[in-house]
Amino acid sequence: MIKSFIRNLKAIYGRMYVRIIGGNRYLHEIFADALLPLLNLSAYVFVYKAMNTPQDLASFVIIGGVMVTFWLNVLWNMGAQLYWEKEMGNLEIFLLAPISRMAILFGMAIGGMINTSLRALATLILGLYIFNVKFNISDPMLVLIIFILTLIALYALGMLFSSLFLLFGREAWHSANLLQEPIYFLSGIYFPIKYFPFWLQVIASLIPLTIGLDAIRKLIIYGSDFIDIQLHFFLLILFSIILLMLAKFSLNYMEKIAKKEGRLTLRWI
Protein backbone atom coordinates (compact mmCIF):
# COMPACT_ATOMS: atom_id res chain seq x y z
CA MET A 1 0.00 0.00 0.00
CA ILE A 2 2.71 2.48 1.08
CA LYS A 3 4.98 1.25 -1.70
CA SER A 4 2.24 1.81 -4.25
CA PHE A 5 1.58 5.28 -2.84
CA ILE A 6 5.26 6.23 -3.12
CA ARG A 7 5.40 4.83 -6.65
CA ASN A 8 2.46 6.98 -7.65
CA LEU A 9 4.01 10.03 -6.02
CA LYS A 10 7.14 9.35 -8.09
CA ALA A 11 5.01 9.07 -11.21
CA ILE A 12 3.37 12.42 -10.43
CA TYR A 13 6.77 13.99 -9.91
CA GLY A 14 8.16 12.37 -13.08
CA ARG A 15 5.35 13.59 -15.29
CA MET A 16 5.43 17.05 -13.69
CA TYR A 17 9.21 17.27 -14.12
CA VAL A 18 9.00 16.49 -17.84
CA ARG A 19 6.31 19.11 -18.31
CA ILE A 20 8.14 21.84 -16.41
CA ILE A 21 11.53 21.18 -18.00
CA GLY A 22 10.03 20.67 -21.47
CA GLY A 23 7.93 23.80 -21.17
CA ASN A 24 10.78 26.01 -20.07
CA ARG A 25 13.57 24.70 -22.25
CA TYR A 26 13.51 27.60 -24.69
CA LEU A 27 13.76 31.12 -23.33
CA HIS A 28 12.10 32.71 -26.35
CA GLU A 29 9.04 30.53 -25.82
CA ILE A 30 8.63 31.72 -22.22
CA PHE A 31 8.93 35.28 -23.44
CA ALA A 32 6.43 34.69 -26.25
CA ASP A 33 3.95 32.91 -23.98
CA ALA A 34 3.94 35.83 -21.55
CA LEU A 35 3.77 38.54 -24.18
CA LEU A 36 1.46 37.11 -26.84
CA PRO A 37 -1.77 36.89 -24.81
CA LEU A 38 -1.35 40.63 -24.20
CA LEU A 39 -1.89 41.40 -27.88
CA ASN A 40 -5.39 39.98 -27.98
CA LEU A 41 -6.51 41.39 -24.68
CA SER A 42 -5.01 44.79 -25.52
CA ALA A 43 -7.40 44.95 -28.48
CA TYR A 44 -10.37 44.67 -26.11
CA VAL A 45 -8.86 47.21 -23.69
CA PHE A 46 -8.55 49.64 -26.62
CA VAL A 47 -12.15 48.93 -27.65
CA TYR A 48 -13.34 49.88 -24.17
CA LYS A 49 -11.11 52.95 -24.26
CA ALA A 50 -12.57 53.90 -27.65
CA MET A 51 -16.03 53.64 -26.08
CA ASN A 52 -15.03 55.69 -23.01
CA THR A 53 -16.18 53.00 -20.58
CA PRO A 54 -15.20 53.02 -16.88
CA GLN A 55 -11.62 52.00 -16.07
CA ASP A 56 -12.66 48.84 -14.19
CA LEU A 57 -13.58 47.19 -17.52
CA ALA A 58 -9.91 47.33 -18.52
CA SER A 59 -9.10 45.52 -15.27
CA PHE A 60 -11.80 42.98 -16.16
CA VAL A 61 -10.12 42.31 -19.49
CA ILE A 62 -6.64 41.99 -17.98
CA ILE A 63 -7.77 39.44 -15.38
CA GLY A 64 -9.87 37.61 -17.97
CA GLY A 65 -6.92 37.50 -20.35
CA VAL A 66 -4.67 36.11 -17.65
CA MET A 67 -7.14 33.40 -16.65
CA VAL A 68 -7.73 32.43 -20.26
CA THR A 69 -4.14 31.20 -20.50
CA PHE A 70 -5.09 28.54 -17.95
CA TRP A 71 -8.12 27.57 -19.98
CA LEU A 72 -5.97 27.16 -23.09
CA ASN A 73 -3.51 25.07 -21.12
CA VAL A 74 -6.33 22.89 -19.79
CA LEU A 75 -7.79 22.37 -23.26
CA TRP A 76 -4.67 21.70 -25.28
CA ASN A 77 -2.10 20.47 -22.75
CA MET A 78 -4.50 18.47 -20.60
CA GLY A 79 -7.57 17.68 -22.70
CA ALA A 80 -5.81 16.75 -25.90
CA GLN A 81 -2.68 15.40 -24.20
CA LEU A 82 -3.51 11.70 -23.97
CA TYR A 83 -4.48 11.78 -27.64
CA TRP A 84 -1.06 13.30 -28.51
CA GLU A 85 0.63 10.75 -26.23
CA LYS A 86 -1.08 8.00 -28.21
CA GLU A 87 0.11 9.54 -31.47
CA MET A 88 3.67 9.72 -30.12
CA GLY A 89 3.56 6.14 -28.85
CA ASN A 90 3.85 7.00 -25.15
CA LEU A 91 0.37 5.96 -24.12
CA GLU A 92 1.03 2.24 -24.07
CA ILE A 93 4.10 2.86 -21.89
CA PHE A 94 1.96 4.81 -19.41
CA LEU A 95 -0.61 2.03 -19.35
CA LEU A 96 1.97 -0.72 -18.86
CA ALA A 97 3.66 1.08 -15.95
CA PRO A 98 2.68 -0.15 -12.46
CA ILE A 99 1.08 3.18 -11.54
CA SER A 100 -2.34 4.72 -11.35
CA ARG A 101 -3.48 6.44 -14.56
CA MET A 102 -4.64 9.31 -12.38
CA ALA A 103 -1.04 9.85 -11.23
CA ILE A 104 -0.08 10.63 -14.84
CA LEU A 105 -2.89 13.13 -15.13
CA PHE A 106 -2.09 14.69 -11.73
CA GLY A 107 1.53 15.14 -12.77
CA MET A 108 0.50 16.75 -16.04
CA ALA A 109 -1.94 19.01 -14.22
CA ILE A 110 0.54 20.20 -11.58
CA GLY A 111 3.24 20.80 -14.20
CA GLY A 112 0.76 22.69 -16.37
CA MET A 113 -0.41 24.80 -13.42
CA ILE A 114 3.15 25.79 -12.48
CA ASN A 115 4.21 26.59 -16.06
CA THR A 116 1.09 28.55 -16.86
CA SER A 117 1.12 30.41 -13.53
CA LEU A 118 4.61 31.75 -14.29
CA ARG A 119 3.52 32.96 -17.72
CA ALA A 120 0.20 34.31 -16.44
CA LEU A 121 1.99 36.27 -13.75
CA ALA A 122 4.27 37.85 -16.35
CA THR A 123 1.24 38.71 -18.53
CA LEU A 124 -0.51 40.23 -15.50
CA ILE A 125 2.47 42.39 -14.55
CA LEU A 126 2.95 43.57 -18.13
CA GLY A 127 -0.77 44.29 -18.47
CA LEU A 128 -0.81 46.27 -15.24
CA TYR A 129 2.24 48.24 -16.27
CA ILE A 130 1.14 49.01 -19.84
CA PHE A 131 -2.47 49.93 -19.08
CA ASN A 132 -1.83 51.40 -15.65
CA VAL A 133 -4.65 49.33 -14.15
CA LYS A 134 -5.35 49.76 -10.42
CA PHE A 135 -6.51 46.91 -8.19
CA ASN A 136 -8.28 47.10 -4.85
CA ILE A 137 -7.43 43.91 -2.92
CA SER A 138 -8.56 43.66 0.68
CA ASP A 139 -7.66 40.01 1.38
CA PRO A 140 -4.72 38.67 -0.68
CA MET A 141 -4.84 35.26 1.05
CA LEU A 142 -8.45 34.78 0.01
CA VAL A 143 -7.52 35.69 -3.57
CA LEU A 144 -4.83 33.00 -3.49
CA ILE A 145 -7.25 30.40 -2.07
CA ILE A 146 -9.89 31.14 -4.71
CA PHE A 147 -7.25 31.11 -7.44
CA ILE A 148 -5.97 27.70 -6.33
CA LEU A 149 -9.50 26.33 -6.04
CA THR A 150 -10.26 27.60 -9.55
CA LEU A 151 -7.16 25.89 -10.89
CA ILE A 152 -8.06 22.62 -9.17
CA ALA A 153 -11.57 22.70 -10.65
CA LEU A 154 -10.26 23.68 -14.08
CA TYR A 155 -7.56 21.03 -14.22
CA ALA A 156 -10.00 18.39 -12.92
CA LEU A 157 -12.12 19.31 -15.95
CA GLY A 158 -9.00 18.96 -18.08
CA MET A 159 -8.41 15.48 -16.64
CA LEU A 160 -11.96 14.55 -17.55
CA PHE A 161 -11.47 15.92 -21.07
CA SER A 162 -8.24 14.00 -21.57
CA SER A 163 -9.91 10.62 -21.42
CA LEU A 164 -12.98 11.79 -23.31
CA PHE A 165 -10.86 13.32 -26.07
CA LEU A 166 -8.87 10.11 -26.31
CA LEU A 167 -12.10 8.26 -26.91
CA PHE A 168 -13.11 10.74 -29.61
CA GLY A 169 -9.85 9.98 -31.42
CA ARG A 170 -9.20 12.39 -34.26
CA GLU A 171 -12.17 14.46 -33.14
CA ALA A 172 -10.05 15.60 -30.18
CA TRP A 173 -8.69 18.44 -32.27
CA HIS A 174 -12.15 19.69 -33.23
CA SER A 175 -13.47 19.14 -29.72
CA ALA A 176 -10.76 21.33 -28.20
CA ASN A 177 -11.35 23.93 -30.90
CA LEU A 178 -15.06 23.80 -30.24
CA LEU A 179 -14.54 24.52 -26.57
CA GLN A 180 -12.16 27.43 -27.03
CA GLU A 181 -14.08 30.53 -28.19
CA PRO A 182 -17.49 29.47 -26.82
CA ILE A 183 -15.97 29.24 -23.35
CA TYR A 184 -14.29 32.64 -23.82
CA PHE A 185 -17.76 33.97 -24.49
CA LEU A 186 -19.65 32.08 -21.78
CA SER A 187 -17.14 32.77 -19.01
CA GLY A 188 -17.13 36.47 -19.74
CA ILE A 189 -13.42 36.74 -20.40
CA TYR A 190 -13.81 40.22 -21.89
CA PHE A 191 -16.94 41.51 -20.15
CA PRO A 192 -18.97 40.93 -16.95
CA ILE A 193 -21.55 38.15 -17.36
CA LYS A 194 -24.17 40.17 -15.47
CA TYR A 195 -25.10 41.52 -18.92
CA PHE A 196 -26.22 38.03 -19.99
CA PRO A 197 -29.90 37.10 -19.83
CA PHE A 198 -30.65 35.05 -16.68
CA TRP A 199 -30.85 31.66 -18.44
CA LEU A 200 -27.45 32.24 -20.05
CA GLN A 201 -25.98 33.21 -16.68
CA VAL A 202 -27.20 29.86 -15.32
CA ILE A 203 -25.56 27.96 -18.20
CA ALA A 204 -22.36 29.98 -17.82
CA SER A 205 -22.25 29.15 -14.11
CA LEU A 206 -21.79 25.48 -14.94
CA ILE A 207 -18.26 26.29 -16.13
CA PRO A 208 -15.69 26.47 -13.31
CA LEU A 209 -13.80 29.22 -15.13
CA THR A 210 -16.84 31.51 -14.97
CA ILE A 211 -17.25 31.03 -11.23
CA GLY A 212 -13.54 31.38 -10.47
CA LEU A 213 -13.10 34.38 -12.72
CA ASP A 214 -16.10 36.16 -11.23
CA ALA A 215 -14.86 35.57 -7.69
CA ILE A 216 -11.29 36.66 -8.49
CA ARG A 217 -12.54 39.84 -10.18
CA LYS A 218 -14.78 40.66 -7.21
CA LEU A 219 -11.88 40.20 -4.81
CA ILE A 220 -9.29 42.02 -6.89
CA ILE A 221 -11.25 44.85 -8.49
CA TYR A 222 -13.98 45.60 -5.99
CA GLY A 223 -12.19 44.60 -2.79
CA SER A 224 -14.95 42.12 -1.82
CA ASP A 225 -14.64 39.84 1.22
CA PHE A 226 -15.47 36.19 1.90
CA ILE A 227 -19.19 36.88 2.51
CA ASP A 228 -19.53 38.24 -1.03
CA ILE A 229 -17.94 35.23 -2.66
CA GLN A 230 -18.88 32.39 -0.33
CA LEU A 231 -21.21 30.85 -2.93
CA HIS A 232 -18.33 30.89 -5.45
CA PHE A 233 -16.08 29.26 -2.84
CA PHE A 234 -18.44 26.35 -2.17
CA LEU A 235 -19.29 25.92 -5.85
CA LEU A 236 -15.60 25.65 -6.73
CA ILE A 237 -15.09 22.99 -4.06
CA LEU A 238 -18.13 21.11 -5.37
CA PHE A 239 -16.88 21.37 -8.95
CA SER A 240 -13.45 20.05 -7.95
CA ILE A 241 -14.86 17.00 -6.14
CA ILE A 242 -17.38 16.09 -8.84
CA LEU A 243 -14.99 16.64 -11.74
CA LEU A 244 -12.19 14.63 -10.11
CA MET A 245 -14.58 11.74 -9.54
CA LEU A 246 -15.84 11.97 -13.11
CA ALA A 247 -12.26 12.10 -14.40
CA LYS A 248 -11.39 8.89 -12.55
CA PHE A 249 -14.53 7.19 -13.80
CA SER A 250 -14.07 8.28 -17.41
CA LEU A 251 -10.41 7.25 -17.40
CA ASN A 252 -11.33 3.70 -16.39
CA TYR A 253 -14.20 3.64 -18.86
CA MET A 254 -12.02 4.94 -21.69
CA GLU A 255 -9.39 2.29 -21.02
CA LYS A 256 -11.96 -0.48 -20.94
CA ILE A 257 -13.70 0.58 -24.14
CA ALA A 258 -10.48 1.32 -25.99
CA LYS A 259 -9.02 -2.09 -25.04
CA LYS A 260 -12.22 -3.83 -26.05
CA GLU A 261 -12.29 -2.12 -29.44
CA GLY A 262 -8.56 -2.60 -29.90
CA ARG A 263 -7.84 1.02 -30.77
CA LEU A 264 -6.05 2.20 -27.67
CA THR A 265 -2.72 2.54 -29.41
CA LEU A 266 -3.92 2.82 -32.99
CA ARG A 267 -2.66 6.05 -34.56
CA TRP A 268 -4.41 8.53 -36.85
CA ILE A 269 -7.97 7.44 -36.05
Binding site: M51, E171, E181, G188
Partner: protein
Protein backbone atom coordinates in the same frame (compact mmCIF):
# COMPACT_ATOMS: atom_id res chain seq x y z
CA UNK B 1 -2.49 21.67 -66.45
CA UNK B 2 -0.25 19.68 -64.13
CA UNK B 3 -0.49 22.48 -61.55
CA UNK B 4 -4.27 22.51 -61.79
CA UNK B 5 -4.34 18.78 -61.14
CA UNK B 6 -2.05 19.28 -58.13
CA UNK B 7 -4.33 22.04 -56.85
CA UNK B 8 -7.43 19.87 -57.25
CA UNK B 9 -5.90 16.89 -55.45
CA UNK B 10 -4.52 19.09 -52.66
CA UNK B 11 -7.86 20.86 -52.30
CA UNK B 12 -9.61 17.51 -51.91
CA UNK B 13 -7.04 16.37 -49.37
CA UNK B 14 -7.46 19.66 -47.52
CA UNK B 15 -11.21 19.10 -47.42
CA UNK B 16 -10.78 15.58 -46.08
CA UNK B 17 -8.36 16.67 -43.38
CA UNK B 18 -10.25 19.82 -42.40
CA UNK B 19 -13.58 18.07 -42.26
CA UNK B 20 -11.77 15.33 -40.38
CA UNK B 21 -13.63 12.60 -42.23
CA UNK B 22 -16.57 13.47 -40.09
CA UNK B 23 -20.24 13.68 -41.06
CA UNK B 24 -21.21 16.95 -42.77
CA UNK B 25 -23.70 17.99 -40.09
CA UNK B 26 -21.09 17.69 -37.34
CA UNK B 27 -18.59 19.52 -39.52
CA UNK B 28 -21.08 22.34 -40.10
CA UNK B 29 -21.47 22.72 -36.33
CA UNK B 30 -17.70 22.78 -35.87
CA UNK B 31 -17.40 25.44 -38.55
CA UNK B 32 -20.14 27.68 -37.20
CA UNK B 33 -19.75 27.66 -33.44
CA UNK B 34 -16.32 29.28 -33.29
CA UNK B 35 -17.03 32.34 -35.46
CA UNK B 36 -20.42 32.79 -33.86
CA UNK B 37 -18.84 32.76 -30.42
CA UNK B 38 -16.30 35.38 -31.52
CA UNK B 39 -19.13 37.49 -32.83
CA UNK B 40 -21.08 37.08 -29.58
CA UNK B 41 -18.03 38.30 -27.64
CA UNK B 42 -17.95 41.42 -29.83
CA UNK B 43 -21.70 41.91 -29.47
CA UNK B 44 -21.49 41.82 -25.69
CA UNK B 45 -18.43 44.07 -25.59
CA UNK B 46 -20.48 46.53 -27.64
CA UNK B 47 -23.52 46.11 -25.36
CA UNK B 48 -21.35 46.77 -22.28
CA UNK B 49 -20.00 49.92 -23.95
CA UNK B 50 -23.49 51.04 -24.98
CA UNK B 51 -24.84 50.50 -21.45
CA UNK B 52 -21.94 52.57 -20.11
CA UNK B 53 -23.22 55.49 -22.16
CA UNK B 54 -21.46 55.10 -25.50
CA UNK B 55 -23.75 55.72 -28.43
CA UNK B 56 -22.57 55.24 -32.00
CA UNK B 57 -24.45 52.65 -34.08
CA UNK B 58 -21.81 52.88 -36.82
CA UNK B 59 -19.28 51.38 -34.44
CA UNK B 60 -21.16 48.05 -34.39
CA UNK B 61 -20.89 47.99 -38.18
CA UNK B 62 -17.17 48.74 -37.93
CA UNK B 63 -16.55 45.90 -35.46
CA UNK B 64 -18.69 43.27 -37.20
CA UNK B 65 -17.22 43.87 -40.65
CA UNK B 66 -13.68 43.96 -39.24
CA UNK B 67 -14.31 40.65 -37.52
CA UNK B 68 -15.89 39.16 -40.66
CA UNK B 69 -12.69 39.87 -42.60
CA UNK B 70 -10.37 38.78 -39.79
CA UNK B 71 -11.77 35.22 -40.10
CA UNK B 72 -9.89 34.91 -43.42
CA UNK B 73 -6.72 36.39 -41.98
CA UNK B 74 -6.80 34.09 -38.94
CA UNK B 75 -7.32 31.05 -41.18
CA UNK B 76 -4.42 32.10 -43.40
CA UNK B 77 -2.11 32.52 -40.41
CA UNK B 78 -3.00 29.41 -38.42
CA UNK B 79 -3.78 27.18 -41.40
CA UNK B 80 -0.40 27.44 -43.11
CA UNK B 81 1.54 26.58 -39.99
CA UNK B 82 -0.70 23.59 -39.28
CA UNK B 83 -0.44 22.29 -42.84
CA UNK B 84 3.32 21.90 -42.71
CA UNK B 85 3.20 20.53 -39.18
CA UNK B 86 0.47 18.03 -40.05
CA UNK B 87 2.17 16.80 -43.20
CA UNK B 88 5.61 16.58 -41.66
CA UNK B 89 5.07 15.47 -38.09
CA UNK B 90 1.57 14.11 -37.74
CA UNK B 91 0.66 12.25 -40.94
CA UNK B 92 4.30 12.13 -42.03
CA UNK B 93 3.49 12.40 -45.74
CA UNK B 94 5.65 15.38 -46.59
CA UNK B 95 8.45 13.27 -48.14
CA UNK B 96 5.98 11.51 -50.42
CA UNK B 97 4.53 14.80 -51.62
CA UNK B 98 8.03 16.17 -52.11
CA UNK B 99 9.17 13.30 -54.33
CA UNK B 100 5.96 13.38 -56.37
CA UNK B 101 6.01 15.39 -59.62
CA UNK B 102 3.63 18.00 -58.16
CA UNK B 103 4.53 21.63 -57.54
CA UNK B 104 5.07 21.96 -53.79
CA UNK B 105 3.95 25.60 -53.67
CA UNK B 106 0.72 24.83 -55.55
CA UNK B 107 0.19 21.79 -53.34
CA UNK B 108 0.19 23.94 -50.21
CA UNK B 109 -2.00 26.61 -51.78
CA UNK B 110 -4.50 23.90 -52.71
CA UNK B 111 -4.18 22.16 -49.37
CA UNK B 112 -5.20 25.31 -47.52
CA UNK B 113 -7.73 26.50 -50.07
CA UNK B 114 -10.68 24.54 -48.72
CA UNK B 115 -10.54 25.96 -45.21
CA UNK B 116 -9.52 29.36 -46.50
CA UNK B 117 -12.12 29.79 -49.22
CA UNK B 118 -15.10 27.71 -48.17
CA UNK B 119 -14.99 27.42 -44.41
CA UNK B 120 -13.90 31.02 -43.82
CA UNK B 121 -16.35 32.38 -46.40
CA UNK B 122 -19.28 30.67 -44.73
CA UNK B 123 -18.19 31.91 -41.28
CA UNK B 124 -17.68 35.41 -42.63
CA UNK B 125 -21.07 35.47 -44.36
CA UNK B 126 -22.78 34.28 -41.19
CA UNK B 127 -21.01 36.98 -39.19
CA UNK B 128 -22.26 39.65 -41.61
CA UNK B 129 -25.76 38.12 -41.70
CA UNK B 130 -26.05 38.11 -37.89
CA UNK B 131 -24.69 41.64 -37.79
CA UNK B 132 -27.25 42.89 -40.32
CA UNK B 133 -30.17 41.02 -38.76
CA UNK B 134 -29.55 41.60 -35.07
CA UNK B 135 -27.02 44.37 -34.60
CA UNK B 136 -28.22 47.01 -36.97
CA UNK B 137 -25.17 46.71 -39.23
CA UNK B 138 -25.98 49.07 -42.06
CA UNK B 139 -25.11 47.63 -45.46
CA UNK B 140 -27.09 48.89 -48.43
CA UNK B 141 -26.72 45.95 -50.79
CA UNK B 142 -28.01 48.01 -53.71
CA UNK B 143 -25.32 50.64 -53.24
CA UNK B 144 -22.33 48.29 -53.38
CA UNK B 145 -20.10 48.46 -56.43
CA UNK B 146 -19.83 44.69 -56.71
CA UNK B 147 -17.12 44.71 -59.35
CA UNK B 148 -14.89 46.85 -57.16
CA UNK B 149 -15.73 44.78 -54.08
CA UNK B 150 -14.86 41.49 -55.82
CA UNK B 151 -11.64 42.93 -57.25
CA UNK B 152 -10.66 44.23 -53.84
CA UNK B 153 -11.55 41.01 -52.14
CA UNK B 154 -9.57 38.92 -54.63
CA UNK B 155 -6.51 41.11 -54.18
CA UNK B 156 -6.65 40.79 -50.40
CA UNK B 157 -7.21 37.03 -50.63
CA UNK B 158 -4.15 36.64 -52.86
CA UNK B 159 -2.26 38.75 -50.33
CA UNK B 160 -3.41 36.56 -47.47
CA UNK B 161 -2.56 33.35 -49.34
CA UNK B 162 0.91 34.77 -50.02
CA UNK B 163 1.27 35.62 -46.34
CA UNK B 164 0.19 32.11 -45.52
CA UNK B 165 2.84 30.67 -47.86
CA UNK B 166 5.51 32.86 -46.24
CA UNK B 167 4.58 31.35 -42.90
CA UNK B 168 4.57 27.86 -44.44
CA UNK B 169 8.11 28.52 -45.67
CA UNK B 170 9.18 29.45 -42.15
CA UNK B 171 7.36 26.31 -40.96
CA UNK B 172 9.95 24.14 -42.77
CA UNK B 173 12.58 25.26 -40.25
CA UNK B 174 10.60 25.62 -37.07
CA UNK B 175 8.89 23.22 -34.74
CA UNK B 176 7.36 24.53 -31.53
CA UNK B 177 8.24 28.13 -32.34
CA UNK B 178 5.63 28.10 -35.06
CA UNK B 179 2.80 28.16 -32.49
CA UNK B 180 4.19 31.33 -30.98
CA UNK B 181 4.77 32.77 -34.42
CA UNK B 182 1.22 32.21 -35.64
CA UNK B 183 -0.28 33.24 -32.31
CA UNK B 184 1.85 36.37 -32.25
CA UNK B 185 1.11 37.37 -35.82
CA UNK B 186 -2.63 36.82 -35.43
CA UNK B 187 -2.64 38.83 -32.19
CA UNK B 188 -0.58 41.57 -33.79
CA UNK B 189 -2.94 41.90 -36.75
CA UNK B 190 -6.00 41.72 -34.50
CA UNK B 191 -4.66 44.55 -32.38
CA UNK B 192 -3.07 46.85 -34.93
CA UNK B 193 -4.97 46.44 -38.19
CA UNK B 194 -8.21 48.23 -37.37
CA UNK B 195 -10.23 45.08 -36.82
CA UNK B 196 -12.18 46.28 -33.78
CA UNK B 197 -11.18 49.95 -33.55
CA UNK B 198 -9.63 52.57 -35.76
CA UNK B 199 -5.81 52.78 -35.90
CA UNK B 200 -6.20 56.46 -34.99
CA UNK B 201 -7.09 55.35 -31.45
CA UNK B 202 -3.46 54.43 -30.93
CA UNK B 203 -0.91 56.89 -29.61
CA UNK B 204 1.16 58.47 -32.41
CA UNK B 205 4.08 56.05 -33.05
CA UNK B 206 1.79 53.02 -32.94
CA UNK B 207 -0.47 54.57 -35.58
CA UNK B 208 2.46 54.56 -38.01
CA UNK B 209 3.11 50.90 -37.26
CA UNK B 210 -0.56 50.21 -37.89
CA UNK B 211 -0.41 51.82 -41.33
CA UNK B 212 2.70 49.83 -42.21
CA UNK B 213 0.78 46.55 -42.06
CA UNK B 214 -0.94 45.31 -45.24
CA UNK B 215 -3.92 43.91 -43.35
CA UNK B 216 -4.89 47.43 -42.28
CA UNK B 217 -5.54 48.27 -45.94
CA UNK B 218 -7.16 44.95 -46.84
CA UNK B 219 -9.65 45.12 -43.99
CA UNK B 220 -10.36 48.81 -44.56
CA UNK B 221 -11.08 48.23 -48.26
CA UNK B 222 -13.24 45.20 -47.48
CA UNK B 223 -15.25 47.25 -44.99
CA UNK B 224 -15.53 50.43 -47.03
CA UNK B 225 -16.34 48.74 -50.31
CA UNK B 226 -19.13 46.80 -48.55
CA UNK B 227 -20.43 50.07 -47.17
CA UNK B 228 -20.76 51.37 -50.72
CA UNK B 229 -17.72 53.64 -50.99
CA UNK B 230 -16.49 54.07 -54.57
CA UNK B 231 -13.06 53.32 -56.02
CA UNK B 232 -12.39 57.06 -56.54
CA UNK B 233 -12.46 57.77 -52.79
CA UNK B 234 -10.39 54.68 -51.96
CA UNK B 235 -7.81 54.91 -54.72
CA UNK B 236 -4.82 55.51 -52.42
CA UNK B 237 -5.66 52.57 -50.20
CA UNK B 238 -6.33 50.43 -53.25
CA UNK B 239 -2.93 51.15 -54.79
CA UNK B 240 -1.14 50.45 -51.50
CA UNK B 241 -3.11 47.23 -51.08
CA UNK B 242 -2.27 46.10 -54.62
CA UNK B 243 1.39 46.95 -54.07
CA UNK B 244 1.54 44.93 -50.85
CA UNK B 245 -0.17 41.96 -52.54
CA UNK B 246 2.22 41.90 -55.50
CA UNK B 247 5.21 42.24 -53.20
CA UNK B 248 4.00 39.47 -50.86
CA UNK B 249 3.16 37.15 -53.74
CA UNK B 250 6.61 37.47 -55.30
CA UNK B 251 8.32 37.31 -51.93
CA UNK B 252 6.37 34.19 -50.93
CA UNK B 253 7.35 32.35 -54.13
CA UNK B 254 11.03 33.24 -53.73
CA UNK B 255 11.09 32.50 -50.00
CA UNK B 256 9.25 29.20 -50.45
CA UNK B 257 11.74 27.95 -53.02
CA UNK B 258 14.68 29.17 -50.97
CA UNK B 259 13.36 27.64 -47.74
CA UNK B 260 12.73 24.33 -49.39
CA UNK B 261 16.23 24.27 -50.84
CA UNK B 262 17.82 25.06 -47.49
CA UNK B 263 15.59 22.56 -45.65
CA UNK B 264 16.61 19.90 -48.17
CA UNK B 265 20.26 20.79 -47.77
CA UNK B 266 19.97 20.47 -44.00
CA UNK B 267 17.95 17.27 -44.32
CA UNK B 268 15.07 18.49 -42.20
CA UNK B 269 12.17 18.45 -44.67
CA UNK B 270 10.74 15.35 -43.01
CA UNK B 271 12.40 15.65 -39.59
CA UNK B 272 10.02 14.70 -36.80
CA UNK B 273 10.84 16.92 -33.89
CA UNK B 274 7.72 17.58 -31.89
CA UNK B 275 5.36 14.64 -32.14
Amino acid sequence: MKNLKTFKCAFWLGFKIESNWTDPFLFAIYSLIRPLSSLLIIIFVYIVGALSGYSNPDYATYMVLGNAFFIFAAQAIYGSIWMVHDDREHYQIIKYVYVSPSNFYIYYVGRGAFAFLLSSSISSLITIFVGVMFLGVKIDFLKIDYLFFILNFLISLIGLISLSMILASIGFFTTRTMWSLSEGLAGLFFLFCGILFKPEQFPYPLQIFSYMLPLTYWVSLFRNSLLGLRIESLMNEFIISLGYTIFLLLFSIILFKYSLRIAKKKGIIDAILTF
